[in-house]
Amino acid sequence: MSRQRSARSAALGLTVRRVPTTIPSRGAGQLRRRLVVGILVLASLVLISVSFRSGEDGPLSGVESAGATALRPFAVGLERVAQPFRDAYSWADSLLTARSEAERLREENRELLQRAIQSEFALQENKYLRAQLDYIDSPRFPADFTPVVAEVTGRPAGAFTQAIVVAAGSSDGVRMNDPVVTSDGLVGVVTRVTPSLARVQLLTDEAAAASAIDLRTGATGIVRHARGTRETLVLDRVRKQDVVRVKDEVVTAGWRAGALSSLFPKGIPIGKVTSVGQTDTDLFQQVQVDPYVDFGALDAVIVLVPTDRR
């Protein structure tokens, strides 16, 4: 029986004509679909390859930089719209914890007053001794840096990268590997720069690390992200004989070895030790650090540009 005829019409022996429809043939539609998705996947793979291999100076970096600059007004506009809601949330949140927070801050203030007096004395003594020794030091924070305050304009989606995009770039003097801080402490390091924007790798990123020191005992180690968590840090490579206690403050070590020096100047606060542990099999202590910076609520940061560069 012909495909053009129904069973009834075939039985009647009538000629049957199909009503023309606009349905595209299955084969053509399938081909078009496969072609479009194939081209898009191929385009994505080409973009990944070129972008990944060429890095900062590749052919795509100019395009990406121009695109990011063009998108910036939209990001800034949205950020401005969202800011009142963020502020309202922070205000409501702070009301809930205001009483206990005030008590904690009073206690902390008393403690800090005592330490400020002792520190002032130590500072004067330190200055005098340095002058006597003609001591050559690595750049110090914040004296040897010019702060560039920048608004946070974006965050990558997903759990794969811990980074932010800030509204300051090479036209503001920002370069690759410049340290980034807030008034609370260390945030991360600049990993990509365009004329008007910079990408900052947060300290909570898997690939980030900073040499650090226990301020009280001088025990040194490397602060890095604690695996499997989002915002906890560990002070790694601390020798077993070094003494580290809970509530000790951890700051950047800022080492220098010949021409090489740490990306971070010494003395930037990182966090407070929350737990210390060690096992017989481990070579080093397991020190967990609670960062001072709230990486999830960064609105603005300070990029530290070396004074001698400007």
């Binding site: 793979l45 973009l47 989002r230």
Partner: protein
């Protein structure tokens, strides 16, 4: 799909991408953040078909990659496939199912999480499997599911739904 619908759909993808970059990525609950762009691309795919889904996923991903100064093409690739799969699901077994947006968003969130992890691993980026596939993905999965129906309804109001022509079950007999 008419030019007006294409423009509307592109505008929806653009706004979703910017919202994701500027606001939604910072809303971290229980270790993970929702992905409103993924949910929007799935909705666009379900409503308008596999080709618009793939194209809009590619465009949305490219906007995210450009505005976050990331490796170009990574998010585009994940979202192209997400939009395409959502579209195919909408064109075939998901057609006229009320829970299709939830099923599609749930399964594509999980697939996109695993695929994204593999992609970043291949690019030699340090990603901890437990964090990417459990700690962050589980809350993101729940939040994306919560967003699925409201976003689907909103997107349908803006771009409408593709009227899929079905083969006629009757033939006209001309005597």
């Amino acid at each position: 799909m008419s030019a007006t619908i294409w423009l509307r759909a592109l505008a929806v993808a653009f706004v979703a991408a910017m919202l994701q970059v500027v606001i939604v990525s910072s809303i971290v609950v229980g270790g993970g953040a929702p992905d409103i762009l993924l949910v929007t691309v799935v909705a666009l795919g379900l409503l308008r078909g596999s080709i618009p889904g793939a194209v809009l996923g590619f465009v949305g991903g490219l906007i995210v990659d450009v505005s976050t100064l990331g490796t170009l093409g990574v998010t585009s690739l994940v979202l192209t496939l997400a939009g395409f799969w959502a579209g195919r699901y909408g064109e075939t077994t998901g057609r006229d199912r009320r829970l299709a947006p939830i099923l599609a968003v749930g399964s594509i969130t999980l697939l996109a999480g695993v695929f994204g992890f593999i992609l970043h691993y291949l690019l030699d980026e340090d990603v901890v499997a437990r964090h990417a596939l459990v700690t962050a993905l589980a809350p993101a999965f729940v939040m994306n599911l919560l967003l699925a129906l409201p976003v689907h309804r909103l997107v349908r109001r803006i771009v409408g739904e593709e009227l899929r022509a079905e083969p006629s079950s009757e033939v006209e007999v001309l005597v």
